[in-house]
């Protein structure tokens, strides 16, 4: 069964350092999402890509966060500099239909970030 891949699974960093997370969506899925999930809460959307283009980054803190999907396949989410409040699970999801949210999103295992 096809799955969304993410790495690393765990990341510990000190505040002010830079971190990067990688996601490989299910093959053929045009839409890719990055979510942040704080412990005890549901995931919240950070950015949505349609192929290589950003569709929605309204909730992405652009002063420190950046995301790219250069070839429309895998994607990288970067935080620089990391702050204590960035400690969370970062989830990647993908879906196949161009219209995005009306199609089922499948999630990867996530990257657990701890900022010390």
């Amino acid at each position: 069964e096809a799955e969304v891949a993410q790495s690393p699974r765990y990341k510990i960093t000190e505040k002010s350092q830079a971190v990067a997370f990688w996601c490989d969506p299910i093959s053929g899925h045009a839409t890719l999402y990055w979510y942040r999930q704080i412990l005890g809460q549901g995931p919240e959307l950070l950015v949505q890509f349609q192929d290589e283009s950003v569709v929605d980054d309204s909730q992405l803190p652009k002063d420190r966060f950046s995301a790219e999907r250069l070839k429309g396949v895998d994607s990288t989410l970067k935080i620089q500099p990391a702050e204590l409040g960035d400690s969370a699970m970062y989830l990647c999801a993908s879906s196949s239909r161009i219209s995005g949210a009306t199609d089922t999103q499948y999630f990867g295992p996530g990257t657990r970030l701890t900022v010390l």
Partner: protein, 110 residues
């Protein structure tokens, strides 16, 4: 999205009993709803979905009910098993976004 911090509601059921997890959604214009299961340290796993032109949909051991009048969604799990223990999230569409509700912890007692 909804936020309840660390104090998620908890449902404890005996193994073999049926479970019902409830969710109130916000947007009367939402047309697509999904239930996800999330085990500790893992990403959300798709369970079942339903579109707004339906009021019931059944899967294997799971049933989703949608009541648009009161904006209520429920997930029924038949013959609950220890492997069903997890946090369950409902999600609704807001425009082109998927918005997650507060989760519910399901604990299955053997």
């Amino acid at each position: 999205g909804e936020s309840v911090g660390l104090h998620l509601p908890t449902l404890s059921v005996q193994e073999g009993d049926n479970s019902i997890i409830n969710c109130a959604y916000s947007n009367s214009a939402s047309d697509y709803f999904i239930w996800y299961k999330q085990e500790s340290g893992k990403g959300p796993q798709f369970i079942i979905d339903i579109r707004s032109n339906m009021d019931k949909r059944q899967g294997q051991r799971v049933t989703v009910l949608l009541n648009k009048t009161v904006k209520h969604l429920s997930l029924q799990i038949a013959a609950t098993q220890p492997g069903d223990s997890a946090v369950y999230f409902c999600a609704e569409t807001w425009g082109n976004k998927l918005v997650f509700g507060a989760g519910t912890i399901l604990r299955v007692k053997s």
